[in-house]
């Protein structure tokens, strides 16, 4: 057991994966000497060399495109997109190539490429540095999309992502990079595509992932004294969803709130709401409500506390489910 920050836990996970398999490569902007702007790849170039930890030219399409080529040659590249808002130059390579090439080959090609994306707001950054683009990828068949929320998952999930033979979009909540937890390296990790009840409860199911897990846990703690019991589920895998666990919980509680930072409109919360309503129609005491970002571009940082759903906004949604 070691106490690790999320950033360090992912770093250790990467290191372990690189030790375990010489085909694992790291590539991206500033991932080498600098160790990434968040230091998630700190020290790896020093220890594994420049041919395994590759500082690339400044072009995201190039990063993903060449990673695909490396994967075709038997490598397992882990690409870093420096910030969420800079994934869009790579959208074409991710959506038309990475996601579709295995099917194009009728399964003869596997593309074990991991795309790491530090995501979300709350760090007072300028434009394009605080976004939550997961819905663009959950809507793209052929990709697996996951989000870690804590050091334990950071350590294990990154290794699972690397071992997975499918392309994985791996979201890392940047405002939680400095959160600490005890990580047991030898522990058997939860399956990669499973959700996790991070706080059991009885009155409302709160579904969330990534940076909002902590917020929702705080919300749950805050209302406990009022006698309201929230069950908080960390989805972990966003495509596929662990609907089994989700449905079971909602059927028990009869109420559900989904919380994410991304804009509500056309966001992943909509899919959860639609799917849960279909599967749990007779159990629902209220519609599934969503607490999320507004349907605007991410605002300047002095407004982000208003934009991001916080404890109060989550609890407001919880309250509203009781108004039905």
């Amino acid at each position: 057991m070691t106490t690790l920050t999320l950033a360090k836990a992912i770093n250790e996970g990467l290191r372990t994966a690189m030790e375990d398999d010489s085909k694992v490569l790291i590539m991206g902007e500033d991932v080498g000497k600098l160790g990434g702007v968040f230091r998630v790849t700190d020290g790896l170039q020093k220890d594994f060399g420049e041919s395994r930890v590759i500082d690339t030219p400044l072009a995201e399409s190039g990063i993903i495109g060449t990673a695909i080529g490396l994967a075709l040659r038997g490598y397992r590249p882990v690409c870093e997109i420096q910030f969420d808002g800079f994934v869009f130059p790579a959208a074409d390579q991710i959506i038309t190539q990475l996601a579709k090439m295995p099917l194009r080959s009728l399964g003869k090609i596997k593309l074990p490429v991991v795309v790491r994306i530090p995501c979300g707001g709350g760090i007072g950054a300028v434009e394009h540095h605080s976004e939550s683009p997961e819905a663009y990828f959950t809507h793209t068949g052929g990709l697996r999309v996951v989000a870690c929320s804590n050091p334990v998952d950071g350590y294990h999930m990154i290794q699972q992502a690397i071992r997975c033979d499918d392309p994985v979009i791996f979201f890392e909540p940047k405002r939680r990079y400095w959160d600490k937890a005890e990580v047991e390296r030898g522990a058997a990790p939860l399956a990669f595509d499973r959700a996790q009840i991070v706080r059991p409860g009885t009155d409302v199911t709160v579904l969330t992932y990534g940076p909002m897990v902590k917020t929702c846990l705080e919300a749950a703690a805050a209302v406990e004294q009022d006698g309201r019991s929230l069950e908080v589920i960390d989805l972990r895998s966003l495509n596929p969803l662990d609907t089994e666990m989700v449905f079971e919980s909602v059927r028990r509680t009869g109420r559900c709130v989904v919380a994410h930072e991304a804009p509500v409109f056309s966001g992943l919360g909509a899919e959860l709401a639609a799917r849960i309503t279909e599967a749990c129609f007779y159990s629902l005491e209220a519609p599934v409500l969503r607490a999320g970002g507004f349907s605007t571009p991410y605002p300047p940082s002095r407004l982000e506390d208003h934009y991001l759903p916080d404890l109060d906004r989550v609890l407001d949604a919880v309250d509203r489910t009781f108004a039905f």
């Binding site: 495109g65 490396l70 994967a71 040659r73 074409d92 080959s105 003869k108």
Partner: protein, 388 residues
């Protein structure tokens, strides 16, 4: 033999001149010498010398190249016919580009890897890919489906330019493996405008990757003539990225072979990338869906017919008595057989089962697709006889 210099008024020089006309910037400010074209065999079938490139081919090899050229043209013709008869949804013909593809394709070793667009039927042939395998995509029974590793021939790529980055990444893999191999990637003149293609030049240059960029400049991107993509000859693009570029007569199979062989050798030996511009012409429509009469004049095609990549080899072989009429007849017969065989096996190609929609999307179980698959299977079963 005569020293290589395109004659005034021949289609290539006409095209070059037409292109040069669009170069509007002051020649004193950075303009370069007019493009030189590597040619080893004239349209009339004469062998010519080039100071930097030559090739020594046995009669057997020449006959082999001729056979390749004729057979891939036959496969292509058959595919066009199959499309006309409704057996393929669409077809992208290589008509006119056989020499560029066979020349470059035959320059590859088994260990080299090729990344095609959607038109490299000739390269596929050189790699040993069964031509029928190429049809699945155009027939709509799959999106390609062959195993790229089987013949070191990647899947067809439709999104213009994307494959150039895959090729460079693959070449970076070759570097890491320390393998004696190189990568070749094909793309068109239109593709040179895509960001990805230019990024691939940067990657290749910065990492000194063993990759050959093979641009078939067939002078059209659907309806757009070359000057919509560049105001200078395309091979010069490479100089801006710090690696050599060279223009070869794309209708000359000898020159394409020689130039590609050299570039691949350089790549394998650690000298990094080369851009080859094969100057050729799309003698057919862009695809069977296209109507080129809307945008190009007939005379252009007529002029280029005189540069036909097959006729010149035939003329050369005749002149040099490298083959007799029997040989040509036997190739014709082989072509006819091949055409028939391709047609027959195309018609036999089964439609995929509906539930294949859900296969091969992921390599490991995926709960959502499992669910959708089951639901759709149940839905299908609900119809009489299980058939919609």
């Amino acid at each position: 033999m005569r020293v290589n210099r395109p004659k005034d008024g021949d289609p290539i020089s006409v095209a070059l001149n037409a292109q040069e006309r669009h170069v509007t910037f002051d020649a004193s400010r950075g303009a370069e010498a007019p493009p030189e074209l590597v040619q080893l065999l004239t349209p009339e079938g004469e062998r010519v010398e080039h100071p930097a490139y030559d090739i020594d081919l046995t009669p057997e090899e020449v006959r082999g190249l001729y056979r390749d050229l004729v057979l891939v043209r036959r496969v292509d013709m058959e595919a066009v016919a199959l499309q006309r008869q409704g057996e393929l949804g669409i077809w992208a013909s290589l008509l006119g580009q056989e020499a560029a593809q066979i020349g470059s394709g035959r320059a590859l070793t088994d260990a080299d890897m090729a990344f095609p667009t959607y038109r490299e039927h000739g390269v596929a042939w050189c790699r040993g890919v069964d031509p029928v395998n190429l049809l699945g995509l155009f027939r709509g029974v799959n999106h390609g489906g062959w195993d790229p590793a089987e013949h070191n021939f990647h899947l067809y790529t439709i999104v213009i330019g994307s494959q150039t980055l895959h090729a460079v990444g693959y070449a970076m893999g070759i570097q890491r493996d320390g393998a004696d191999a190189a990568t070749i990637v094909y793309f068109g003149d239109g593709a040179t405008s895509q960001g990805d293609v230019n990024e691939s030049f940067i990657w290749a240059s910065v990492f000194n990757a063993p990759v050959v960029f093979f641009c078939q400049n067939n002078q059209w991107a659907i309806s757009e003539p070359l000057e919509k993509q560049s105001r200078i000859p395309l091979y010069r693009r490479a100089s801006g990225f710090g690696f050599p570029g060279i223009r070869v007569d794309g209708n000359d199979v000898f020159a394409c072979l020689a130039v590609t062989r050299q570039a691949l050798k350089n790549a394998r030996e650690g000298q990094g990338p080369t851009l080859i511009e094969a100057f050729t012409y799309r003698m057919g429509a862009h695809t069977t869906s296209d109507d080129p009469t809307r945008y190009r004049v007939a005379g252009e095609l007529e002029a280029w017919k005189l540069k036909d990549p097959i006729e010149r080899v035939k003329a050369y072989m005749f002149k040099n008595q490298l083959a007799d009429q029997d040989f040509f007849d036997s190739i014709e017969a082989e072509a006819a057989d091949l055409g028939r065989d391709v047609r027959k096996r195309c018609l036999e190609m089964p439609d995929p089962h509906p539930l294949e929609i859900f296969e091969h999307v992921y390599s490991e179980p995926h709960a959502l697709l499992t669910e959708e698959r089951e639901q759709y299977a149940a839905y299908l079963a609900s119809f009489e006889g299980g058939e919609r």
